[in-house]
Symmetry: C2
Subunit: 353 residues, 2 copies
């Protein structure tokens, strides 16, 4: 399945993404070469089995895996210094293209963006399974050759990902909406907590924890991502500001109809997100189970849930500070929830919806 | 421990909260009476063991557990029709007080708000464990008698909750910040997804799912909650709009310093939320584990995690659409992550951070 992939593959930048890609490709015995401006990182990545150090030999495909600010210049350099096809794994796609305008070699470049990452960084955080089943946006520009686009799609598949083909402009609009906007609004909500009195924060529940989780992400990285996608992000933020004005007016004047419209639109939007299996979103419900807060009890619960033959779509754990017990939320297909509750009840678990 | 609770306790409104409270109090053999404008709900709640139908007998404490819009009038009625102490479990606390202005009986009332709920409603969704370990805000106003306040605190403790004492104004400010603002901003983010192209939404990851989860909540209920807390909510929304203006300007002009400040403030805010055990927030990290997407594998994983004696703080499951396998994110204390990874690795699991 990796015959269509031009080899060797040179990975420029052996951080989390680059090293993980090397490990993923090596599972399929792809010939992988590694470079990084930090030679220590190359030695580490190579020692982990992600590929061999690059020594200037001819290559078939260059994958640029450097921080967002450096993607454009590194793609230009790869096109100039090799005659290989070139791609990158950066999280914005139109900004690097501007660095390529006027280059005749631009045909050999098609962008890409795997939707995978971690809050850790560096080669030691790498894993061969990082891309398994994740979407990998493949973003050819107007002058990308068919050969370059095909190579990037093959790279994504060999790494274990699912290809989503988008233009660079569509991609940047899509991630502005599904990633950058949620991140920035989460940051604004979290910002309002920063100087709140401690006894006010004691009322925090699962909702605010969920909404603000991503706000803890690395500010230096997000600074680069947001700046790199400024036009799309600013456009969406402006739409949100317009909606916020309507919302403030509705709340201040007690206009329930207008407030209701905004709330209904939020429900529709939360349902528009595709199911985790990539298929249509299936209705799920939560079954809550009380359990003692000991390591072994979770295992017993999942053993019993497994015996009920109900697939668990997601799990949340909420600890009970007063009693050192926990409440586990099992998210399951709506049609299976009754069966799960009955089955767990028969095994002595206290459940509710 | 329930000797200090004036009895019988009359619960007005046998929906999810009222019926759950009855069940929780009955665990401690409290004498509970139930009323509801829907007699069918009283029969159901009574049949579940939440208490006996109310028939006009003298009571010690009335708990008003009706939808937000009806709390004020029902508290007034309870004060007029009984000589009992009165409280409520509504999610806003200053608005109902306005209905009580000028009533001489106002001393017998002290408000309350358990931080517990479910996306389901009605007595059949009730559970005796709903309040276990949850914060229960107790919100006496300026004229609440010491006796009324003590009774509400005892009610919360007997139901299994942890008391957080706040004034009504502080409470409404606190929930505006920790619940209503996160809800409304989640709604605005989700609203931007409602008409997005399907292939754009295919790039959705865990971040946007977390940020928009609460946006799926019942619009009719949230309309009442937000309207009931309009002043505090509008104030915070206006602060967010001011921050949003700064953010839009920073993004549009590429002002990285200003953008960085906003992002840093978000990190600080996300860290300000107390730990789930109610103590200070402990640093946690995520350990990712690949596993086949079969019911039994989760049980095996938790059995192995349990054997490693590391407490799992939270869990997320991310399915792999391409291969029918899953990626499980185990959130654990930072100091225990290495041990967990080593231990799981020895048992044959593929992990990464």
């Amino acid at each position: 399945m990796s015959e269509g992939l031009p080899q060797p593959v040179l990975i420029v930048g052996t951080g989390l993404l680059g090293t993980s890609l090397g490990l993923a490709l090596r599972r399929r015995e792809v010939d992988v070469l590694l470079s990084d401006r930090n030679p220590e990182h190359v030695r580490t990545a190579s020692g982990l089995g992600a590929g061999h150090p690059y020594a200037g030999q001819p290559v078939g495909l260059v994958v640029v895996a450097v921080p967002p600010d450096h993607v454009g210049p590194e793609v230009v350099r790869a096109l100039a210094e090799t005659d290989a096809l070139v791609t990158d794994v950066g999280s914005v796609k139109t900004a690097p293209l501007r660095a390529l305008e006027g280059e005749s070699s631009i045909e050999r470049y098609a962008g890409g963006h795997p939707m995978a990452g971690s809050e850790r960084s560096g080669p030691l955080a790498a894993t061969p399974t990082l891309f398994d089943g994740r979407p990998w946006a493949v973003t050819p520009h107007g002058r990308s050759s068919a050969e370059a686009t095909a190579a990037v799609e093959e790279l994504a598949r060999v790494a274990g990902a699912s290809v989503v083909r988008l233009s660079p402009e569509e991609h940047d609009e899509a991630v502005a909406r599904t990633s950058h906007l949620p991140h920035l609004l989460s940051v604004l909500v979290a910002g309002r907590l920063a100087d709140a009195p401690t006894d006010h924060l004691a009322l925090s529940g699962q909702g605010v924890r969920d909404v603000t989780r991503v706000a803890g992400g690395d500010p230096a990285l997000w600074q680069q991502i947001v700046t790199g996608n400024a036009a799309a992000v600013a456009g969406l933020l402006t739409q949100v500001r317009d909606q916020l004005d309507v919302l403030i007016d509705a709340v201040a004047t007690g206009d329930r109809a207008s407030l209701g419209e905004i709330l209904e639109r939020g429900v529709a939007g939360s349902r528009a997100i595709p199911g985790k299996h990539g298929g249509p979103s299936r209705p799920t419900v939560s079954v809550f189970v009380s359990l003692p807060d000991h390591p072994g009890e979770l295992a017993r619960l999942f053993a019993d849930a497994g015996a009920s033959e109900v697939n668990i779509e997601d799990v949340h754990i909420d600890h009970d500070p007063a009693r050192d017990t926990g409440l586990v939320e099992l998210v399951v297909d709506q049609t299976r929830a009754d069966h799960l509750q009955t089955s767990l009840g028969e095994r002595g678990w206290e459940t509710h919806r």
